[in-house]
C-alpha cells in the first residue's frame, strides 16, 4: 500500500450488498434474492480512473447505482469523503448529488426525448443551483465548448444528434454541476469505434482539466486498458481481482480474468493466440454456486474451490485476487 497511501481516498465502498427480492413462484419456497452485488469492498482515489469489468449481469451497474443510491443497497457502507452517504436523509442526499454524477450507456435512453439541450443543461444547473440564473446561458455555452458541440446545439432535441453527440450532451449535463466523481456506466459501449475514440479522449481531457475521479464501468477491455489507472474484475456479484492496470493486463492472476483477457478479439489477423474458451453459461445470481463462484466454469477448479469461498487477498504489491490456487496457475 505504499504507492497509493499518499493519495486521497475520495470514495470507500465497504462490504456493500445489493440483493433484489425475486417474486416467488410458490409460497412454499423460501424468499429468494438476486444477489447482484454480494459483499464487495474497494476504494477510489481522487483523480484516478478505476474500471470495473466483468460479464454482463455480474453486478457492475448495480454497484454504480448503489453508490449513487439510485437503488437503496441492502447492506454496507459507502463513504464519500469519509461520510456514509447511505445514511443521509433525502435532502442532504440531494445536495450531495452534485458531487457524484453518472454517464449512462445508452446515449438515447439517458436523455429525455422531449427536452431540448438547453433545457437539459439548465435543469441540471437549476436543480443543484450551482450557477445563478443570469449566468447560466454563458455556462451552457462553456459546457458545450468542453464537450465539443456547436453552440446552436442548445436549441435541438436529443434525437437530432448522432449517438456520439448525444453522449457528449450526457457528459455536459454531468459536468454542469461541477462533480468530483463521475460514474461512467458503459459510457462508450454503444458507440462506434471512431466516435468511441472521440469520447474517450474527451473524458481523459476533462479528467485532467477538472481533476475528476472516474469509476469506469465497461466490459470492453481494450477501452478499459486505455483509460484506467486501476482495474477491478467482478464475477457474479463478487470482486475477483483488483490491480493496477499494467499489472492486471500483463499478469492476470485469476483464471476468470485470464479467460476474459484472452477472449478479446484482437484486430490483427496475423496474431494467432491460445485462447481460453470457457465452457457453459454464467450461473444464475439467484442461486449462485457455493464456494468459489467461478468453480463451475473454471478449468482449474479443485475440490476446495467448491467448498470454500476464497478471500480477496493481496498476492503481489497492490494486486488483490480472490482465488485459492492463484499462485499455482500457469501463466
Amino acid at each position: 500500500m505504499n504507492t497509493t497511501a499518499e493519495k486521497n481516498i475520495i470514495l470507500q465502498v465497504d462490504r456493500l450488498k445489493q440483493y433484489f427480492p425475486v417474486k416467488k413462484d410458490s409460497i412454499f419456497k423460501p424468499k429468494a434474492y438476486v444477489k447482484a452485488v454480494d459483499d464487495i469492498s474497494f476504494e477510489l482515489f481522487e483523480g484516478e480512473t478505476l474500471s470495473i469489468v466483468g460479464e454482463s449481469g455480474c453486478g457492475k451497474s448495480t454497484t454504480g447505482r448503489a453508490i449513487l443510491r439510485l437503488d437503496e443497497p441492502t447492506d454496507g457502507k459507502v463513504l464519500y469523503m469519509g461520510k456514509n452517504i447511505l445514511t443521509l436523509n433525502k435532502k442532504d442526499m440531494r445536495k450531495l448529488r452534485g458531487d457524484l454524477q453518472v454517464i449512462f450507456q445508452d446515449p438515447f435512453a439517458s436523455l429525455n426525448p422531449r427536452q431540448m439541450v438547453k433545457q437539459i443543461l439548465n435543469e441540471a444547473m437549476a436543480i443543484q443551483n450551482v450557477v445563478e440564473k443570469s449566468k447560466r446561458k454563458e455556462r451552457m455555452l462553456e459546457l458545450l465548448g468542453y464537450v465539443g458541440l456547436p453552440p446552436e446545439s442548445l436549441d435541438r432535441y436529443p434525437h437530432e444528434f448522432s449517438g456520439g453527440q448525444r453522449q457528449r450532451i450526457g457528459i455536459a449535463r454531468a459536468l454542469a454541476v461541477n462533480p468530483k466523481l463521475i460514474i461512467c456506466d458503459e459510457a462508450v459501449s454503444a458507440l462506434d469505434v471512431s466516435i468511441q475514440a472521440q469520447i474517450l479522449n474527451l473524458l481523459k481531457k476533462l479528467q485532467k482539466q477538472f481533476k475528476l475521479t472516474f469509476l469506469f464501468i465497461s466490459h470492453d477491455l481494450s477501452v478499459v486498458r486505455h483509460i484506467s489507472d486501476r482495474v477491478m474484475v467482478m464475477y457474479l456479484g463478487k470482486v475477483v481481482e483488483i490491480a493496477e492496470k499494467k499489472e492486471m493486463f500483463d499478469s492476470p492472476l485469476h483464471p476468470y480474468t485470464k479467460a476474459l483477457l484472452s477472449s478479446i478479439p484482437v484486430p490483427d489477423p496475423t496474431l494467432k493466440r491460445d485462447r481460453v474458451i470457457l465452457k457453459g453459461d454464467v450461473p444464475s445470481p439467484i442461486d449462485p454456486p457455493g464456494g468459489c463462484r467461478f468453480h463451475t466454469r473454471c478449468p482449474f477448479a479443485i475440490e476446495k474451490c467448491k467448498q470454500e469461498e476464497p478471500p480477496l487477498r493481496e498476492l503481489v504489491n497492490n494486486h488483490f485476487v480472490s482465488c485459492h490456487i492463484a499462485e499455482t496457475l500457469p501463466v
Binding site: 453518472v102 422531449r114 443543484q128 456547436p150 454541476v177
Partner: protein, 301 residues
C-alpha cells in the same frame, strides 16, 4: 499526433435534417400534423365544431328553446333541416347551441378524470409498493362502484349543476386513467434518463411531472379521445337523474335519449344528435392519433 478533440463542424446532417430555430420547429410540428391526412381531417372537424359552438347564435335558424307544439315532430325539410323534436323545437338549432354544452361537459369531464387519474397513476406507478397498492385498490373500489350511485351522491353532496355533472362523469374515468398512467409510468420509470435526472438531485415532483409525465402522453391522448364519447353520453344519463343539464338545455346526450321514444316514428330526433357526437368523437380520435405522432419527437426519425 496533433489530432485534437475539436469543436465539431456544424453538422451538415443535423442542420439539413432539422432546422435549428424555434419557428421552424413549430412549423415542423404543424407540417407533421398537416402531412398526416387523418390528423388534418380530425383537426378540421374539431375546428368546425368549435366554430359551431362559437357562432351558434348566428348560425341557428331558430331559437333552441322556443316550444311550438303545433309543429312538433316534423321530419327534416327545407324549413327545418333536421326536423323538429317532440316539442316542435328546431333540432338543428338545438344541436348548434348544444355544442357548447356537450363539448364543454365532455372536455371538462375528460380533463377532470384525466387530471386526477394521471396524478393517482403517476404517484402509484412512481412510488410503487404500498402507495401503489393503496391507490390502485382505491381505484378498484371506484371501478366496481355503480355509476348511478356515485352520481346520486354527488347531487346530494354538491347539488345539481352542470359543473357537478362534469365532476360525476369525470369521476367515472379517474380509475381508467389511473390504470393506464400507472402502467406507462412503470415503463418509463425504468429508463435511464430518469436515473440521470435523479442522480442530479431532482426532487420526486420534478421527476414525476417534468420527466415522466410528458413521456406517457400518448396512451393518455388515446384514452382521452375515446372517453370523450362516453363522457358526453353519460352526462346525458345523469341529466335524467336531475344532475346534469336541466331541460330545456339542448344537450346532445339528452336530446339523443329523448329520441328514444321516437326511435321508429321519428328516427331523426335521435339520429342527428347521435351523429353530432359520433363525428366529434371521430374527429378527436384521428386528431389525437396525429397529435400523438406529432408531439413525439422520436416519431420523426
Amino acid at each position: 499526433m496533433t489530432v485534437q478533440v475539436k469543436t465539431e463542424q456544424p453538422d451538415i446532417a443535423v442542420k439539413t435534417l432539422i432546422g435549428g430555430t424555434k419557428e421552424s420547429r413549430i412549423k415542423d410540428f404543424i407540417s407533421t400534423l398537416i402531412q398526416n391526412k387523418a390528423a388534418l381531417a380530425g383537426a378540421i372537424i374539431i375546428i368546425v365544431y368549435l366554430l359551431m359552438a362559437a357562432f351558434a347564435p348566428l348560425l341557428a335558424p331558430y331559437s333552441p328553446y322556443e316550444i311550438d307544439l303545433e309543429n312538433k315532430l316534423t321530419p327534416p325539410s327545407a324549413d327545418h333541416w333536421m326536423g323538429t323534436d317532440d316539442k316542435g323545437r328546431d333540432i338543428l338549432s338545438r344541436i348548434l347551441y348544444g355544442s357548447r354544452l356537450s363539448m364543454g361537459v365532455g372536455f371538462a369531464a375528460v380533463l377532470f378524470g384525466a387530471f386526477f387519474g394521471i396524478i393517482f397513476g403517476l404517484v402509484a406507478g412512481f412510488y410503487g409498493k404500498w402507495v401503489d397498492t393503496i391507490i390502485m385498490r382505491m381505484m378498484d373500489v371506484m371501478l366496481a362502484f355503480p355509476g348511478i350511485l356515485l352520481a346520486l351522491a354527488i347531487i346530494a353532496a354538491l347539488g345539481p349543476s352542470l359543473i357537478n355533472v362534469t365532476i360525476a362523469v369525470g369521476a367515472f374515468s379517474v380509475p381508467l386513467f389511473a390504470r393506464i398512467v400507472r402502467g406507462s409510468t412503470l415503463e418509463v420509470k425504468r429508463l435511464e434518463y430518469i436515473d440521470a435526472i435523479r442522480s442530479l438531485g431532482a426532487s420526486d415532483f420534478v421527476i414525476i411531472f417534468k420527466h415522466i409525465f410528458p413521456n406517457i402522453l400518448s396512451p393518455i391522448i388515446v384514452q382521452g379521445t375515446l372517453r370523450l364519447a362516453t363522457a358526453i353520453l353519460s352526462a346525458a344519463g345523469l341529466s335524467f337523474l336531475g344532475l346534469g343539464a336541466q331541460p330545456p338545455s339542448p344537450e346532445w346526450g339528452t336530446m339523443l335519449s329523448s329520441g328514444r321514444d321516437f326511435l321508429f316514428s321519428a328516427p331523426y330526433i335521435a339520429l342527428f344528435p347521435g351523429l353530432a357526437i359520433s363525428i366529434l368523437v371521430l374527429g378527436f380520435n384521428i386528431f389525437g392519433d396525429g397529435l400523438r405522432d406529432a408531439f413525439d419527437p422520436r416519431m420523426k426519425k
